[in-house]
Symmetry: C2
Subunit: 218 residues, 2 copies
Amino acid sequence: MKPLLHDYWRSSACYRVRIALHLKGVDFDTHVVDLAAGDQRSEAWRAENPQGLVPMLEIDGHRLVQSLAIMDYLDARHEQPPFVPKDPAARSHVLAMALVVACDIHPLNNLRVLRHLKGELGQSQEAADEWYRHWVREGLAALEAMAAPGAGRFLAGDEIGFADICLVPQLYNARRFDVPLAPYPTLARVEASCLALPAVAAAHPDVAREIGAKEKMA
Amino acid sequence: MKPLLHDYWRSSACYRVRIALHLKGVDFDTHVVDLAAGDQRSEAWRAENPQGLVPMLEIDGHRLVQSLAIMDYLDARHEQPPFVPKDPAARSHVLAMALVVACDIHPLNNLRVLRHLKGELGQSQEAADEWYRHWVREGLAALEAMAAPGAGRFLAGDEIGFADICLVPQLYNARRFDVPLAPYPTLARVEASCLALPAVAAAHPDVAREIGAKEKMA
């Protein structure tokens, strides 16, 4: 049975997992959990995943959640290309860059948080947008400083890995909110290297949206 | 040269790293970055760590940041006790539980975010506290559901690991904000098992505060 990705095209965390699956050459089916329509709060989806989030990957008889934990699984099961270096310090550096995105930027800026700001906290759209841009700027500045000394084609040399997989969706997302990317030349250059790879292009939200639309029709 | 931990007693991320160091039996010195006093925004500290965050660990000639990436390094360099199982799916499950804390709860509730809510967004202390409790409740409910089926003495059986190391500081923190923990019996039971270990007790914020005060006097 093919792996099944519970996916939403615009979710950064789903986008990471799609990149990882394509890089490892793992063919998969898609089930759409439409976050914009509120599918994640449905009883049906909560029964599948109590946290009510995406992505979830059904693979090899397991149900895996949390994008970085899914990427770790794929990396353990499929050797090429490796997502982290073998040297413990180099590996820690790659993970640290991935975690700047996954812990210090993305969690503050995903859909459920922006909705909470505008709903429960009564903030304007403008205030929510500025909140978004604030945390992106803070995080990307840190990431640029961490990456600049060691970056090659990718964030940690010339092999794509964990940190790059987190970077691509974050920059896609930043553009949606009109965050100027000029202050982060290393990140912009690495993003271009990533997007030039067919595996990364195949994971793009526009492609995922189209696949999702077909799945819903079927 | 002994490893040097740049630490703040009340930071959850620092607390994780202290637990990890003590569990691995790594002796270390402490340098206090006093977040309450704003040390993290000083030019001196930004020169050390561009992100201006703690923890940072200087070890074996490396400067490591991001608590989970530091824990990964310690686990790679010091075999016992292992922080993750060897089986890829079991490992992914442990990481997923750790990431619920590290990505879905903690980033929304740390000091810089609560300050931003009260400062730039003009929220009351009460609204900031309720924001805090909201994300803790969401995250702990998810973690309880994920952990309950497989928990033993610890979150993923009878060995302490990555997820437990993230749980202990999160529950310490939740209590400070008066979040009722009765709905999470598995988490509370596992926390008690953790706190009974001398290595975990040695990492407690009260101990760290005392060590920090001595370091500042020296």
